[in-house]
């Protein structure tokens, strides 16, 4: 492996890291603003013009708070809980193709940290590790509410991972590849998967809301019943990491939705451009899609009340999984028919 490649990937990783954190930070600001607008309020507007420095003020506040560890908690697990949550939320972005190849300094660079040929499986692996952060955090707190939050998070994750996986199989069937780059390149121009698989998208969208613990599926941190759920005992930047990882996860799952169903960095009329300009426009289009999904997820949060737990399980097992399975079977039959297997 040559040194230039290592430097190139390193720079890309650092940029991605900063972008993920920056977008997560400003998601918190935007979430508060959006909540305020929906409720006919103004929202944070004291720190800087339009409150634009609010995330920085929040971050400083988090760092300056007392870092409290409950007496009977498992200290080691208590510390790594938020770490795992943040880590898993961040590493998913490694396989996301942010744009087509660019040419810089006479080198062709890929705007993707690594092109796994089993990218979709990698996502599932990472997402299912993600619940360990919440589980370990909730368990190590030695608090009933935290434990309940952790149990809810894990059962919710198990229930919705199934439907999510099955809904993704349709995309894999249509693309014939598990690599995200291939999936994106199959959806050239306006030929997006959403036109073929709207039901699959709906299932995937609902499941990703549940996987990222966003409303209306935010039962693990249900403050009215569980006083914050798994992060009840957390304070200072550990709490900050938990809250932050939710926003990073939201950013990454928005990126995944854009890739899998809305053509990733493809946009209509992209054939008119080429080279670095095309790459730039592609990245812009991709981020526009991501921001749109982040907006929709927040919009849903401030519209719909939280599910009850039995409703959550009913929706997951009795509604989404059958729909996803039937959708998968129909897709499989149509593809088999087109391939002339009958």
């Amino acid at each position: 492996m040559d040194t230039a490649l290592i430097i190139e990937k390193f720079v890309l990783v650092v940029i991605l890291f900063l972008i993920s954190l920056g977008i997560a930070a400003y998601s918190t600001y935007f979430e508060r603003k959006l909540a305020a607008w929906i409720q006919d309020r103004v929202g944070p507007d004291r720190a800087g013009p339009f409150g634009i420095l609010q995330p920085i003020a929040d971050g400083v506040k988090m760092f300056l708070k007392e870092d409290f560890t409950p007496q009977n908690s498992d200290k080691w697990l208590f510390i790594i809980g938020p770490g795992i949550a943040m880590f898993t939320a961040l590493i998913t972005s490694a396989i996301i193709p942010w744009g087509p190849d660019i040419t810089l300094f006479g080198r062709t660079m890929s705007l993707q940290v690594t092109d796994f040929n089993v990218g979709v499986l990698y996502i599932f692996g990472v997402v299912s590790i993600g619940v360990y952060g919440i589980m370990i955090g909730g368990w190590a707190s030695n608090n009933k509410y935290s434990l309940f939050g952790a149990i809810r998070a894990s059962s919710q994750m198990i229930s919705y991972e199934l439907a999510m996986g099955i809904s993704l199989i349709t995309i894999v069937l249509m693309s014939g590849s598990l690599s995200l780059t291939d999936i994106v390149n199959k959806q050239h121009g306006m030929d997006w998967n959403i036109w073929y698989q709207p039901i699959s998208f709906l299932v995937f969208f609902i499941c990703s809301l549940a996987e990222t613990n966003r409303a209306p599926f935010d039962l693990p941190e249900c403050e009215s019943e569980l006083i914050g759920g798994y992060h009840t005992e957390y304070s200072s930047m550990k709490l900050g990491l938990f809250l932050f990882s939710e926003y990073v996860a939201m950013f990454v799952s928005s990126a995944l939705m854009a890739i899998l169903f809305f053509g990733g960095y493809n946009f209509p009329g992209m054939d008119a451009f080429s080279g670095n300009l095309l790459a730039l426009l592609c990245v812009v289009a991709f981020f526009a899609k991501i921001f749109f999904f982040i907006f929709v997820i927040m919009w849903i949060r401030w519209t719909i009340p939280r599910f009850r737990f039995d409703q959550l399980m009913h929706l997951g097992w009795k509604t989404l999984i059958p729909i996803a399975i039937i959708n998968m079977l129909i897709t499989g039959l149509v593809i088999a028919f087109n391939q002339g297997w009958f």
């Binding site: 607008w37 929906i38 103004v42 919009w299």
Partner: protein, 180 residues
């Protein structure tokens, strides 16, 4: 029974139709409601920069008026304390000595006059009861304090300063002594 208001809704628990049981139409209509609210005008008044305009009859912090020659109107008759439904007013009367004619209008005056602003409900009955046009409610706000004791306003807070007369005409124009 016949509905008089025209707003009566019959409540029923009939089973949901298939479309209703999908929940999605209801969710979308809910999201449209919130979307509409995103573009509505904000009703917030950003307080330190902007201040709400008071109604002309607003009843705020009290003032004990002086007359044109700077003498206190109050004679400590106690009618305001009797009228006060919240029992916020208390006073101690004293007789005017020789040489104090420039300070107090009548022979009797209030040596101590206290209003507990935490008890006061700003009803304005003291103002109505006052036969000497001495106490008035103004358009000023009672400021916040850290201690409960600091809300008991004595004469130092209530009587208007000679060099800083309080204009009460904004709230009411009695056409008599009260308006300076």
């Amino acid at each position: 029974m016949e509905s008089l208001s025209n707003r009566k809704k019959v409540v029923s628990d009939k089973p949901m139709t298939f479309v209703e049981s999908l929940y999605l139409p209801a969710i979308f209509s809910g999201m449209m409601v919130t979307l509409k609210h995103m573009f509505k005008r904000r009703k917030t008044i950003k307080y330190p920069e902007e201040q709400r305009v008071f109604a002309p009859v607003y009843r705020g912090m009290h003032v004990l008026k002086r007359d044109e020659q700077g003498r206190e109107n109050c004679t400590a008759c106690g009618l305001c304390a009797v009228a006060c439904p919240a029992e916020a007013i208390t006073m101690v009367a004293a007789e005017r000595e020789k040489g104090e004619e420039n300070l107090y209008r009548e022979e009797k005056y209030a040596e101590i006059y206290e209003i507990n602003m935490l008890r006061c409900i700003f009803c304005g009955l003291c103002e109505e009861a006052c036969p000497k046009e001495a106490i008035f409610l103004t358009d000023r706000i009672v400021p916040t304090e850290y201690e409960r004791n600091e809300f008991i306003y004595g004469k130092d807070m209530l009587v208007e300063k000679l060099d800083k007369r309080i204009d009460i005409t904004k709230r009411q124009d009695t056409g008599k002594r009260g308006a300076v």
